[in-house]
């Protein structure tokens, strides 16, 4: 005999006349087992105590681990209420009713008892009368629930939420095919019924079964039927956007960025932009890439940009300086710790390559590799992220041409590099040729740096990159 939770409802009077003998027989069978048998009639606006139902395996108590709702929240039937744990099993408890949560009987980490109230729910006023009955048994028992509703002489099994959905859409439940247990009508059955009426294409029903690779032919006969059904005129529905604004506090790293950028705002920025012809550098890199690879290093363009910047800073050290808080003193930094802006999951981080003034292009490339792999793994350390004196941002790897970079305090200058584009340019002979063009946008602190200095630095940097051989002369 399969034991299910017993429920009585107002309509039991109707069936009692037909099935009373069966009912009595089974009642006799059950009487020798330990049971608590309660009948309660529930009416609109009434507060119902939702008891913790049986977990199975003879378990009588569980630990409440997480609440998904709080007092005052509205819940629908089958919404998750809380997560409880018992002996390595995590159980999601769902609501039996539509309504509003009025009281939580346990706090997190409390022990909850099977059969005792878990939450108090104020039943939705629009629900009408539904009666519930609980049976609690100590030996392992099966768990089942459904609500009977009598509609036009048919006993149609459907939950109150489903009935409401049908009512709202003017659907006769008797016309809907139920695919749930005992032909109960589920929400998806209503949706399927609606889809057929409107010819709408629904997302796959939640109760879909996986069809194993073999019997694909099953779906074919269904198709022509569906096509035929698409002809009826679609019912136009107003488009409802149910998106909601989401507010989150600004915390952690974001908070720090807010502080830093607000401080950066105080710096009077000026910009200077130019275009660099990288045709020769592109060729050079192609030649050097395999050599670096043999040594286990990936060679990008950045090491060249960084080294050229350092050579420029040797001539114009004010760009590698720092202005103190009161603008009283300028400190010329000896080390060229050139920061490289990196885009990670978290956002913008700027690790720096230390002492570029004594590094070769290969050294810089190798260090960049290390910083990049640490950066993507989220494992950069404090020394990698502090002590920067000058920054380059290669935004061109994502896209863009000209930019307006923001100086990172306590530095006084920054450069943003756009993407490399193949563009037509005139050479010395007046002929058009294919040039690899990249744009650079500098920003500098106008309190201590003037336009002329920035321009001259940029020209020098540009000349090193446009004619890489000239770098050899000045390499330290």
């Amino acid at each position: 005999v399969c034991i299910h939770r017993v429920r009585s409802c107002s309509s039991i009077r109707f069936i009692k006349s037909k099935y009373v003998c069966v009912f009595d027989k089974s009642a006799l069978k059950f009487s020798d087992q330990q049971r608590l048998f309660r009948t309660s009639a529930v009416s609109c606006g009434q507060i119902v105590q939702f008891k913790l139902s049986d977990i199975g395996e003879g378990i009588t108590e569980v630990t409440v681990k997480e609440w998904y709702i709080k007092e005052g929240d509205s819940v629908s039937q089958f919404d998750s209420i809380c997560e409880v744990q018992s002996d390595k099993a995590s159980v999601t408890i769902t609501s039996r009713y539509d309504g509003v949560i009025r009281k939580l009987h346990y706090s997190i980490d409390d022990i909850a008892f099977v059969g005792k109230p878990l939450v108090d729910i104020e039943i939705d006023a629009s629900k009408g009368v539904a009666a519930e009955e609980d049976v609690v048994e100590t030996p392992p028992m099966s768990h089942d629930e459904h609500t009977h509703q009598e509609i036009k002489g048919h006993k149609t099994l459907a939950t109150p939420a489903v009935r409401r959905l049908a009512m709202e859409n003017n659907i006769k439940l008797s016309e809907v095919v139920g695919t749930g247990k005992d032909n109960r009508i589920l929400k998806e059955d209503i949706l399927n019924y609606l889809a057929k009426q409107t010819g709408a294409i629904l997302p796959l029903s939640p109760k879909a079964e996986i069809i194993p690779p073999l019997p694909k032919s099953e779906t074919v006969p269904a198709a022509p039927k569906d096509k035929a059904r698409k002809i009826p005129t679609p019912i136009s529905r107003p488009i409802v956007f149910s998106g909601k604004d989401k507010t989150e506090p600004v915390t952690g790293f974001q908070k720090a960025m807010v502080k830093t950028m607000s401080a950066a705002l105080k710096i009077p920025h000026f910009g200077y932009c130019d275009e660099i012809d990288l045709t020769q550098l592109v060729q050079l890199r192609e030649e050097l890439k395999p050599l670096a690879e043999v040594r286990g290093v990936k060679l990008s363009f950045m090491p060249f940009f960084i080294k050229a910047a350092s050579l420029g800073l040797l001539q114009y050290p004010i760009l590698n300086a720092s202005l103190d808080e009161n603008c009283q003193n300028v400190t010329y930094k000896a080390a060229h710790n050139i920061g490289v802006a990196m885009d990670t999951e978290q956002g913008l981080i700027v690790p720096n390559v230390k002492n570029v003034q004594v590094c070769s292009v290969f050294d810089i490339a190798s260090e960049l590799n290390r910083l990049q792999s640490l950066g993507s793994a989220g494992q950069l350390g404090t020394s990698d992220l502090t002590g920067g004196t000058f920054t380059l941002s290669n935004i061109g790897t994502i896209g863009g041409t000209y930019a307006k970079p923001v100086i990172l305090p306590p530095e006084v200058a920054i450069g943003a590099l756009g993407k490399i584009q193949v563009l037509p340019r005139f050479n010395g002979k007046g002929e058009v040729f294919k040039a690899q063009i990249m744009n650079v946008s500098w920003s500098a602190d106008h309190r201590i740096i003037d336009g002329a200095t920035m321009a001259r630095f940029s020209n020098l940097w540009k000349s090193y990159l446009e004619n890489p051989a000239s770098m050899l002369l000045d390499l330290k």
Partner: protein
Amino acid sequence: MVLQPSLKNCLWLSCILRTPKAGFRSTASGALIIQSVSNDVYQNLAVEDWIHDHMDLEKRPILFLWRNSPAVVIGRHQNPWQECNLRLLRQKNIKLARRRSGGGTVYHDLGNINLTFFTTRKKYERMENLKLVVKALKALRPQLNVHVSDRYDILLDRQYKISGTAAKLGRTSAYHHCTLLCNADKFILSSVLKSPYKGLKSNATPSVSASVKNLFEEDPSLTSEMLLDAIVKEYATQHQTDHHITLMNPADETLLPGIINKTKELQTWEWVYGKTPKFSVSTCLNMVYKDSVLDVKVNMDVKHGRIEGCNIDLPEQWLPPALYSELVKSLTGCKFCPNETTTLATTLLRVCPQDDELHSRWNLLCENMVMLM
């Protein structure tokens, strides 16, 4: 109303019994055996979620077979800082996942088989499943001394744990999954499952450590494939179904609509770390600074994986008070995560006075704090 099988034959029920018109019918009856082609722990956990949420297990219970590349999997209500060596995981690039079932922490690699038994909630029965596995093992190697303990572990020679169990129960469906150690790396297993973090106080489910052994050590002729095959055979026999394994690709969004979102959710920081029950850290940092060692007491409360309150007992004036309170204020709401803390502290340093001494103290403190995470 009491539902007995006889009632189903009653007239009024048969009146409304209709054949479903379209789609979603059982193409076959009987149990289904599915094996994942992926070794990605997140994808495989997502498949479990998907089956649990979307499949009707009434007529078709399912056995799901899966293996993962190196990963540590913690239970739903556990604290990863308490359970494993997160620093070592990061170093060795071992993934960390939080599953939706309860229970303790396990280490997975390709030498470990995972079995998930999906049933309706009514038919949830862990002992039966484990006895099935033991029966399969004994059929394969009769001399194996394996049995199911009352903690739902499978023990070898009454001593060594070769399988651990966990379960998830929903409204209508349930699953019970367990591991099986065939040939996993025991050395890495023991080192990653040892937490170095001190001073943690929490109500998270603790793991119970046990001596483990691989079946391969007991009988070197055994392979994962043989064990899988034996279990599938036994399952097929007991469920009277074909010994046929359906291969499943957990990345197939057409077959499993919504699977990509489920996979993504399992990988979010909010799920893996943020679901940690509230805990507190109360410990002492031993900071080596200029030939002396400073003992710095630290107290932190962590909720949803974020620092809720923080108190660092530094020597007076070691950091300017204004900066110290700025640091503490910024740490509030920050993820209890080395990366977030480091980037936060180093970014904040940009707006501090440019003093080398201050910078080195600040960095030292930050590095020590990060060691707690």
